[in-house]
Amino acid sequence: MTEFDSPDAPRKNRVSAPIRGAKLGPVEFLRFAWRLLTSMRTAIILLVLVAIAAIPGSIVPQRSSDPNGVSNLYSSDPDLAKLYDQFQLFDTFTSVWFSSIYLLLFVSLIGCIIPRIIHHWGVLRAAPAEAPSSWGRLTERRLEPATGGIVASLDRAERALRAKRYRVLRDGDSIAAEFGYLRETGNLVFHVALVGILATLALASGFGWNGQRVLVEGQTFTNQLSSYDTFHPGAWFAESNLQPYGLTLNSFTPTYVHDDVKDAWMPVDFTADMTVTDSTGIHDATLKVNDPLVAGGSSIYLLGNGFAPVITVTNGAGDVVFDQPVVFLSQDSNLTSVGVVKIPDGIGDGLGMQGFFYPSAVKLDSGALASNSPEPTNPTVTFNVYTGDLGLDSGASANAFQLPIDTLKQIAGRHTGVEVVLTPGDTFTLPDGLGTVTFSSLSRFVGIEIRHDATQLGVALSAFFLVAGLLAALATRRRRVWVRVSGTARNPKLEWGAMSRGDDPQLDATVNALVASARQGPNDKVATV
C-alpha cells in the first residue's frame, strides 16, 4: 500500500530494461519479466485495468445478477447478444479477460509481499539501524547540554525513548532508537488479507449452494433436492449436504400505507409466520426482509411475495382435474398479477388459461379492470381460456408462465365475447360442456431463497484483518532517533537527530517532546513551557 518504495524495501521501482539489441537468455528473460510484473508501476497499471475491466459488468446485464436481462437481450437483439456472449460480457467477473487481469494483479502482489515479509521479519528481530554517516542529512537535529554528566543524561534520554515505546540500542556513548514497526506489519497484514479473501473464494465457494422455492400459505417445504424450484450447486456439492428439516408457511402478512403525496401504496412490512421442524423439535419462527432465518446450517431469506388464488377445474364428466393454488407474479405496486394454469390431460385436448389477478378490482372507464390497492378488498381473477396441445409432453422445457397461444384455440375470455371474471366462490361454465372453472379461495405465497455460503467465515476474517492492518499502517509513523555525545569535555552536549519515513509534519513536535522529557527524566513532571 503506502510507501512501497521506502528506502530499504526490496520492491524495486526501477525496472532495468534489457539493453536494446542485447540477447537475453531464458533465465535473464524470466528474471526481467518477474521484476517487471512485481514492480509498483505494473501494480498501479493493473489496478487501473481492473477498474476499467469491471465497467462492462455494470452496463451489460450479468447472468449472475440479472439473468432476465440477458434473456431479454437475446430476444430483442440476438445478434448483439451473441456478440456480447462471444466476449463473455454476460459473465464479466468470471471471464477470461477479467480473471487474467486480477490473477496477474495477485501474482504481482504476492511476488511483492513475500520478499517484504522476509525482510520485515528480519527487521523486527534486528537492532535499530545505526546513525547515518552524515548527521547533517537528518531532518531534525537538536543540541542539548548534557546536564548532570554524560552517562546520567544518556540514561535519561534512553528512558525517555523507552517510555515512548521506542526500540532502543545503547552502544557506549550513542543511542539508536526506532519506532513504528507496526506500520509495515499492518501494511503486510492488509495485503495478506487481500490474498486471504481471494484464496477463500477459490477454495471454499465450491462447497456452497443456493436454491429458490415458492411456498404458498399452508404448504411445507422439506429440505431435499426435489423440493427446490431452482437449485445452484457449487462444484463440490453432494445431496447429503442438505440437512433434513421442514419449513411450513403458516401465514404471510404484508402491511401497506398510503402515500398521499404520490397517491400510491407503499409496503412497510412483510412478515412470514413459519414453523420449523428439525432434529431439535418443532418451533415457530418469523421470517422478514433483512432478518433471515437459520435452519439446517443454511440461511433462509424472504425475497418475494404475491397472491396465489386457488383454482378448481372440473371436466365435462364432473371430475376434478385441477385443484390447487396458482402463483401469480405481480406486475406493479398494486399487485396486478399474471399467472397461468396448464391442464394437459383429462379435459378436452388439454386446457390452458392465461390469468390476470386484481387484489382490489375497479372498472376503468374503458371497461378494463385495474387494481387500486395491494390489499385484497375485491379480489378478482380474469382468464383467457384456450384448448389444444400445451406442448408439455414433448419433453422440451417450457416456461411455467407462458402459454403457446399461437398453436392454441381460444374459447373464452378477452375478444371472444365471453368474459371470464371471477371473485372468490364464483364458477364459470366453459363452453361446449367442457367443464367448469372455480375461484375457490385466495392464498398468499412467498419466494424464499435458501443459501449455504462456505466462504463467509474466511472472507469475514480476512476483512477484519484487512481493516485492522489498514488502520494500523495508517495510524503509525516509522521514526528513527539517534543520540550521540558532542561538545567539549568541560561542556559536554547531547546531540539528537531524527528522521521519518515519508512525510511527517509531526516529527518536529515529537523530537521536542522527547528532548523535553529527557531533560526532566520521563517520570518527573515536565514543567509547562
Partner: protein, 291 residues
C-alpha cells in the same frame, strides 16, 4: 407535506442562497489576490466568505436535522436526502479541516461544488417524506450510508486539493502565467498540496473500505449474499480500486505528483458517476432513489 418538512425545504433553499454569497466572496478573494501588487495575500473578503459559509452550513444542518425529524429516521434514505447530507458533510469536513490547517484557498471550489450538488438534488430529486420499504428497514442503513457520506465528503475535499495541486503544478512549470493565475501564488506549493490531499484521501479510502464492508454485511442479510456484482457494488469496487491505485501511485517514483493527482480526480469522477448516472440509468438492486 408536514410543516416541519416544509421548514426543512425552505431552510435548504436558504442555505443555497447563503452558499451562493459565500462562493461569490471566495471568488472575489481569489480575484483580489490576483490584482494586488507584490505577493498575493488573502484579502479582507476571505473572512466574510468563511463567516457566510459557516452561516450557510448552520442553516444546512438545520435543514438536514428537521428533515430527519419529520421522517422519523436518518435523513439519507433516498437520493435527495443523501445529497442533502453528503453536501453537509463535505462543507463540514472543509470547515473542520480549517481548524487544523488553513485550507481556505479551496473555499471557492468547496462552496461552489456544494452549491451545485445541493441545487441539483433539490431541484431534480426532491421527494417528500415517505415510509421506508422493508428492504431499507435495517440499522445497517444508518451505518452503511453514514460512512458512505463521510467517505464522499473526504473524497470531494481531496479532489479540491488535487485540482489545486494540478493548477499549481502547471504554474510552477511556467505554463500558467499572467495576472489571472497570480492568485495561485497564495496557494501552497504543489508538493505541499499533494501531501495534504493524500492525507485527506487516505481517510476517504478508509471510510470507503468501511462502506463496502458494511454494505456487504447488509447485503448478506437483505439479499442473501454479501457480494453479487450488483451495479452499485461494481462501482463501489471500481472506486475502491482507483483510490488504492492512487495510494500506490503516490508512493511510486514517476507516478508521484501529476499522474497521482489525475488518478485522484478520476476516482472522484467515479464517485460522482456512481451517485448520479448509476442511480438514475443503471438497473440494479440499489433502486432507492425514490424517483
Amino acid at each position: 407535506m408536514s410543516s416541519l418538512e416544509n421548514i426543512s425545504l425552505i431552510a435548504t433553499y436558504s442555505a443555497m442562497a447563503v452558499y451562493t454569497i459565500s462562493f461569490i466572496l471566495f471568488a472575489v478573494d481569489l480575484a483580489g489576490r490576483a490584482e494586488s501588487m507584490g505577493k498575493p495575500v488573502p484579502t479582507r473578503w476571505l473572512r466574510s466568505a468563511m463567516a457566510t459559509l459557516v452561516l450557510g452550513w448552520t442553516i444546512h444542518a438545520f435543514a438536514d436535522i428537521t428533515r430527519g425529524i419529520s421522517a422519523h429516521r436518518v435523513p439519507w434514505a433516498n437520493m435527495y436526502e443523501f445529497g442533502l447530507t453528503a453536501t453537509l458533510v463535505l462543507v463540514g469536513v472543509f470547515l473542520g479541516l480549517n481548524l487544523w490547517r488553513d485550507v481556505r484557498y479551496v473555499g471557492a471550489f468547496v462552496s461552489g461544488f456544494a452549491l451545485l450538488a445541493l441545487g441539483i438534488v433539490t431541484v431534480n430529486f426532491y421527494v417528500s417524506v415517505s415510509p421506508l420499504p422493508p428492504a431499507l428497514q435495517s440499522y445497517w442503513l444508518v451505518i452503511h450510508v453514514c460512512v458512505a457520506v463521510l467517505g464522499t465528503g473526504f473524497f470531494a475535499t481531496g479532489a479540491a486539493l488535487s485540482s489545486a495541486q494540478l493548477f499549481q503544478h502547471a504554474r510552477e512549470e511556467g505554463k500558467l502565467g499572467g495576472r489571472s493565475w497570480r492568485f495561485l501564488s497564495a496557494f501552497p506549493a504543489s508538493d505541499a498540496l499533494e501531501a495534504l490531499a493524500y492525507r485527506i484521501l487516505v481517510i476517504g479510502f478508509v471510510f470507503w473500505t468501511f462502506t463496502v464492508m458494511a454494505g456487504a454485511i447488509w447485503a448478506e442479510r437483505a439479499w442473501g449474499r454479501y457480494w453479487g456484482w450488483d451495479t452499485k457494488e461494481v462501482w463501489s469496487f471500481i472506486i475502491w480500486v482507483l483510490f488504492a491505485g492512487y495510494i500506490h501511485a503516490r508512493a511510486t517514483r514517476g507516478w508521484r505528483g501529476r499522474p497521482a493527482a489525475v488518478l485522484s480526480l478520476v476516482g472522484f469522477t467515479a464517485v460522482v458517476f456512481n451517485f448520479t448516472i448509476v442511480n438514475l440509468f443503471f438497473k440494479g438492486l440499489h433502486v432507492y432513489s425514490g424517483l
